[in-house]
Symmetry: C2
Subunit: 341 residues, 2 copies
């Protein structure tokens, strides 16, 4: 799904896009460090064709900053809680700077203990989850992350929304190819994709959500306007979504998706919750190297006819963008330049 | 789904059932220690109404032992690999005795490091996964486990089976109620439930599997007889199943679901793979106690209309069985007594 599939596109180098976004964030209330991290994150999603988390998100970031809901200057506090446990209080800032601050300690603990966990609380996550885990796999580590979000998913067997879209992301090194990375909402569709469908006037598949009366609908506007999403895979996806609430909120000390009240902050879009990341050093275990073994699995998957592996579409888009630059709509780019001043 | 829903039932106390099963396993080739662990595991499933993993499994255990495929006398070797990492070589024995042997070290590491991982390899898992994780939650810990199995699931986008049913189980303490526990096959249906449907002559829901030609079917016999299962939730369940292969096999040093060859062991039923268990001590993190927070989530789920929480059906069956004994069909019980000699 491309938000920029028209002749009216322009190409920026990745570095140019990062620099442009950084100027925007800094001009709208973040410190330089936070701006740099958010800009890289947002440009990465745009570059890799993940448009629902690319520059499409900029207006949401800015209206949130303008509302006073998130602190764009927050300096996270990293807590060394045990030999395998790192905590971070994001102090009402974004989750990515909190991860950035805690990352060296987390990796060091994972390499020493064989496994380590990072519990981020009091944080706002408004981005894709795969950019958080992919870098661990590039260092030979296995990573699993969950983040809860905001009430918009009806638990299986329930009548009203309670859970967030609550994604699960996983990354693992793979010999002979890019890391295996997936990032899946535990809702039938990611919230950003529903927003894009609404903007483009596309219907969404049956089973995606319900309208404000709780009735099934394929109209993305009806889902966004007082309706709600459904979990993927019925009771199983719903159980996974519950697990994400427990790990990302109960375990970190963050808010559940239903606990924060942003009604006094019109324009606020970022869920104020928590995030958990588990990192494993597979070199501690027995047998052949993990990356060789995951390479074996991938080869075998191809022999049974699997043609598109997790993350491959993003890597293909990334390769194109490294060659030709990151594509942006002219109108979109013009708006970004205006925002950058 | 009850395998014993007839007037022809008899009730044994849980201890009597464990003792009967223990005699059966010991008489058919396991040592006393392994027999005790398998008997308790199998009786627990029967008691809790999880009939696809109860005494229904006994013939499969015995034909596997008779075939020489599994070593019922194996003594697992526990390896202290790092401050958060325990390995076990099950030496071609069952996974449950391996978990039993490594459990004290795993719990001690989790309490000290905040998180620890157990990687079991060279093991056979032929049981439900929830009995492996529930006890951790009773000790105030959060546990996540995955086990791969045997080729019977077609990856999303593929043409032939490759993955196992590859379940994911999760357990967490909950103030004011029993632990929150789920155990879900990443296939559309668990293999044992397909076997029960075939035995009882019931159709399975559309989307469960394909026949030997790869065509969709609702006939459980067609799925078992050269056909295959599908993942739950299309590409998402398939990605989770792949993750289970990576964690339970690549990370532990065990076999992938497609790697073992039991053709020289007619009667063998137990997948020779691996199992991973991650245990987290939530007391390390900030804020209110984890169990209080999960209690808050459960209460909120009830207010939006969720009437059956993960694990509740099992707890209800358990309570009934503690009162009236564990129900078994008379024919079934007679067969068990004959097997016990």
């Amino acid at each position: 799904m491309s938000a920029v599939a028209s002749a009216e596109t322009e190409h920026l180098s990745f570095a140019e896009l990062v620099e442009l976004l950084q100027r925007i964030f800094e001009r709208h209330g973040t410190c330089a460090q936070v701006a740099a991290i958010l800009a890289e994150n947002c440009a990465t999603a745009q570059r890799d064709g993940a448009h629902s988390h690319g520059v499409f998100r900029v207006p949401g970031y800015l209206s949130t900053l303008a509302s006073g809901w998130v602190d764009g200057q927050a300096v996270p506090t990293v807590e060394d809680l045990a030999s395998g446990f790192v905590g971070v209080d994001a102090h009402n800032g974004f989750a990515q700077p909190a991860l950035h601050a805690a990352r060296p300690l987390l990796v060091s603990k994972a390499r020493s203990a064989g496994i380590a966990v990072l519990a981020i609380r009091n944080s706002h996550h408004f981005a894709a989850l795969w950019p958080d885990v992919e870098p661990f796999a590039r260092e030979g580590l296995v990573a699993l992350s969950v983040v809860n979000s905001m009430t918009c998913v009806v638990p299986h067997g329930g009548q009203k929304p309670l859970f967030g879209t609550n994604p699960i992301a996983f990354a693992a090194p793979c010999a002979g190819s890019e890391p295996i990375v997936f990032d899946m909402a535990t809702s039938a569709m990611a919230h950003g994709d529903v927003q894009i469908a609404a903007r483009q006037g596309h219907a969404v598949p049956p089973g995606t959500g319900v309208d404000r009366l709780g009735l099934p609908t394929t109209d993305p506007k009806a889902i966004l306007d007082g309706g709600a999403l459904l979990p993927f895979g019925e009771h199983k996806g719903s159980a996974l979504s519950m697990m994400v609430e427990l790990l990302a909120a109960a375990l970190t000390g963050g808010n559940f998706s239903f606990e924060f009240d942003w009604s006094q902050h019109p324009g606020a879009k970022t869920p104020w919750t928590g995030q958990l990341i588990i990192v494993i050093d597979p070199s501690k275990s027995a047998g052949a190297t993990f990356a060789e073994r995951s390479g074996t699995l991938v080869e075998k998957m191809k022999t049974v006819g699997v043609t598109r592996l997790s993350g491959e579409r993003r890597y293909a888009e990334r390769a194109k963008a490294l060659e030709a630059g990151v594509a942006l709509g002219r109108m979109e780019l013009e708006q970004l330049r205006q925002l950058a001043g």
